[in-house]
């Protein structure tokens, strides 16, 4: 799995200019995003996290707080969600990721 710190693509550097909404932060003031990963019949993750990593046609990518609005089709990969207690990994066959205003929704099996 790609290391979130070393595989930053151009996508992660883009910042939503209109992101006026107050960001979610942890106890140390580090910004977090809301992540929801679900399929038509099951929810795999629905909570806050520091980042989420996946793979699309371009290659591995990470979504960090203040990411630009983004929609991508996901390739078969392991989604890596960095949370306070470590990381949570979800193996997927395909999906669609939607990122907007520090909220990431991953639709699986579609």
């Amino acid at each position: 799995m790609a290391n979130p710190d070393t595989t930053k693509t151009a996508q992660t550097t883009l910042t939503a200019a209109s992101a006026t909404k107050q960001a979610t932060v942890d106890s140390s003031g580090k910004e977090m995003i809301h992540i929801k990963v679900f399929s038509p019949y099951k929810t795999y993750y629905n909570f806050i996290g520091y980042s989420i990593s996946g793979v699309n046609d371009t290659g591995p990518f990470d979504i960090l707080p203040r990411h630009h609005n983004f929609i991508t089709l996901l390739n078969p990969c392991v989604l890596d969600i960095r949370v306070q207690s470590g990381s949570k990994r979800i193996r997927i066959s395909k999906g669609v990721m939607h990122v907007k205003a520090d909220k990431v929704v991953v639709f699986l099996d579609v």
């Binding site: 399929s39 019949y41 699309n56 630009h68 983004f70 929609i71 089709l73 669609v96 939607h98 639709f107």
Partner: protein, 279 residues
Amino acid sequence: MRQLLDIDKERSSMMTIVQLTSAFETLASMRISQIKNQVLQAQGFFDELWNIYIQLRVDSIFRFGRHNSEKVIDKELYILITASGGFSGDIDQRVINMMLEKYDKDKQDIIVIGHHGSILLAQAGIPYKRFFELPASDHNINVEPLIHEISQYKNSFVYYQTYLSLMSQEIKRLELSTAIKQYSSMAAENKEIISEQTYIFEPSAFDVAAHLERSMLQITLGQVIFDSKLAQYASRFRAMSAANDKSKESYSDLNTLYNRTKRSIRDSQLKQIIIGLTR
């Protein structure tokens, strides 16, 4: 004496039937509840996906996920969803009868899901393009081969049985493109536009829109198959419930007959003893 043994044997067979029908009734009722939950969960998923799609699309034409360059068969596709076995009463025949009201072999092609439907069509001499088995599992139904077929036609209609309640099921005809638009309960509420000016797309906005169309088609078809299965389970539940009541009644009759016969044998034995004593 032999008669008593026969009644006893019949009585225990009837008890087995009572237990079996009761088990099948419980099983059908459990499946109904599971499928109902799945349908509700999928509705929420579909709504969120639809909300993105509606903000993204540039016109109101639903293209079934195909590209503009792809050739379209100038016919309609009729999809019939029927049961896999013959225990569904006349409901499959009703699905076919409804389809035949509009069917013209030069204007429509047929795809049938469920073995029973394919047999009924063959018996009636109606040709069909493809046949799929009704999925045995109630989870992760793969409808991709069906979507591949649908995307080749200009429009598609589904004929299926739908669940109203445990006691009533009805036949429905559904135009897929309209159904997908109507399926969302939160359509057109969010008027924000998703475009290349406000979003990054990978691989492209068109590919994402086409993918979302295929995905929503996939969910809608899955839901229709679930609805059909729900109706079949309800029909089975009703049949099992009636069979259970009937077998309980028969068991009670046999039990009474057994006790009466046993008593009469005992009475005649007593009578013989008394006659022997009085001599």
